[in-house]
């Protein structure tokens, strides 16, 4: 009887440890990131966002595409990485490195 009790207690302890490890792992889930290139029209200042192409850099004036509003040339205004967490994640989890909920 005592042996069974010991087995049950061991099993319960192992289950609790596994559950705690799983919870810790879920907290360490990788936040998806995406690269963004901000293009600005040199004529009207209209801003367009897209994924950067190889060889792009800040200050590069692009031949193509042209500004969808006035047809002016677009210049690469900024290239950066931002969090691409799905909306559900933002609603139910605190953002990494942020105090906002």
């Amino acid at each position: 009887m005592d042996a069974w009790l010991a087995a049950y207690v061991s099993l319960a302890a192992a289950s609790a440890t596994a559950a705690a490890a799983a919870a810790a792992a879920s907290r360490r889930v990788m936040r998806p990131k995406r690269l963004v290139e901000r293009l600005r029209c040199t004529r009207c200042g209209y801003v367009v966002y897209r994924e950067p192409s190889r060889g792009d850099y800040v200050g590069l004036v692009l031949e193509e595409p042209r500004c969808p509003v006035c047809g002016g040339a677009l210049v690469v205004d900024a290239i950066y990485e931002e969090s691409a967490e799905p909306l559900s994640g933002l609603l139910f989890r605190r953002r990494e490195g942020s105090k906002k909920t």
Binding site: L35, V36, T42, R43, P52, R54, G55, D56, Y57, V58, G59, L60, V61, V75, A78, I79, Y80, E81, E82, G97
Partner: protein, 398 residues
């Protein structure tokens, strides 16, 4: 015998082969006796360092597993450098890597401090020029300077990771060889920090290979934005190797912008450039020197936070920074510093949106500092300090 000694024979059952001692009691007695014996032996052995030996073995196994990860990083970056060289059409990329991966720099003599920064500058420039020469010699003619600089930076990272790996392996082997548990313990405790640095370097190669701006490019990006925003009088002109200056006008004040030439991976020579701009170009009374640079944040601080201070915001080993400091002292000019805060990993990997936002705030701060420090008719030198990868020069005013 042990049962009798422990006085457990009182409740003996008739089933026992030994009169007066039950089977279950005898087993328990033996278990207790053996446990006491084992714990006594372990306690005695502990005085002779066996426990420490076991602990050392555990630390050694954990350090070795991390070293295997680090070795993987070194191989990964080496492969990346080889790929970049091959893509650029280099002859014998392996020979270039073999020559640069173990390249070392000997610090100048410090017990005689006279001219130590000049000697350090000479040593660092020799390193820079030599690595560039080796890579350039292997590349076919016509390869752009930007591409060359990016390859040199990735080779520099491979060198740093290789040195770190060899150093950690050396410390581990030395600790085991001399049975110095404290040496291994120190290594084991510091390993998470080293691994953090190593991972950041490994991740940085992806960004550099693609030529994207890194966090450290915040300074040159701020200079780029300022150049765009202010009326340009003289467009960007190279004044010293890989470093440019441009002249602008802001509410009656002359603004001389200095930064590294992009979009290749280089920090330029900002100290020497500022010295030459002030001595050779600036004609108006100089009111201030403002440096804008990425700075390491404290844990808990927000990325992209902008802080204002005094001095030269520059992370170089000394030679460039001291040129500006000496010049400011000789001219009696105030030194203003603007820092854009970020973590170590953020400084060498792809620029975060928070840093881009921080650059915008830094520009507002810089303009305020210019207005406060200089009267109309006076001049201010603004330096965008940092690696300019992914940040080109602004075109004509749009």
């Amino acid at each position: 015998m042990p049962a009798a000694l422990l006085g457990l024979a009182a409740n003996a059952t008739p089933a026992s082969p030994v009169p007066g001692v039950s089977l279950s009691n005898e087993l328990a007695t033996w278990i207790i006796a053996i446990s006491i014996l084992v714990s006594t032996i372990i306690s005695i052995l502990a005085f002779f360092g066996v426990a420490q030996g076991i602990q050392l073995g555990i630390w050694k196994a954990q350090i070795e597993s991390k070293l295997r990860i680090l070795e993987g990083y070194v191989n990964e970056v080496r492969e990346k450098a080889r790929g970049m060289l091959r893509e650029a059409g280099a002859r014998e990329p392996d020979a270039v890597i073999a020559r640069t991966i173990d390249y070392f720099v000997v610090e100048p003599v410090s017990i005689e401090p006279t001219d130590i920064t000049k000697r350090l500058e000479r040593v660092l420039r020799t390193e820079e020029e030599q690595i560039e020469r080796v890579v350039r010699a292997a590349l076919p003619p016509g390869v752009s300077e930007e591409r060359l600089h990016n390859i040199v930076t990735v080779l520099g990272i491979a060198n740093a990771l290789n040195t770190l790996y060899k150093f950690l392996r050396h410390m581990l082997l030395l600790g085991i060889k001399t049975k110095n548990a404290m040496l291994v313990a120190q290594l084991w405790m510091m390993l998470p920090f080293y691994m953090r640095i190593a991972k950041a370097y490994r991740d940085a190669t992806d960004t550099i290979e693609k030529g994207l701006p890194i966090g450290d490019a915040a300074g040159p990006l701020a200079a780029y934005r300022l150049a765009e925003r202010l009326r340009t009088l003289t467009p960007s002109t190279e004044i010293v190797k890989d470093t440019v200056f441009s002249v602008h006008e802001y509410e009656g004040r002359r603004v001389y912008l200095v930064r590294a030439r992009g979009p290749g991976s280089t920090v330029g020579r900002p100290g020497e450039a500022v010295e030459r701009v002030i001595r050779e170009v600036v004609k108006e009374p100089l009111a201030a020197i403002v440096t804008i640079d990425a700075a390491l944040k404290f844990e808990g601080e927000d990325t992209g936070l902008v802080a204002e201070g005094s001095g030269v915001a520059m992370g170089d080993p000394g030679p460039e920074k001291i040129r500006i400091e000496r010049l400011a002292v000789s001219l009696g000019v105030p030194l203003h510093a603007i820092a854009i805060k970020m973590g170590f990993e953020e400084a060498i990997t792809t620029m975060k949106k928070e840093v881009v936002d921080g650059v915008e705030k830094a520009i507002e701060t810089a303009l305020r500092v210019i207005r406060e420090a200089a009267q109309p008719g006076e001049a201010v030198v603004v330096v965008g300090v940092g690696n300019t990868i992914g940040v080109g020069l602004p075109g004509p005013r749009r």
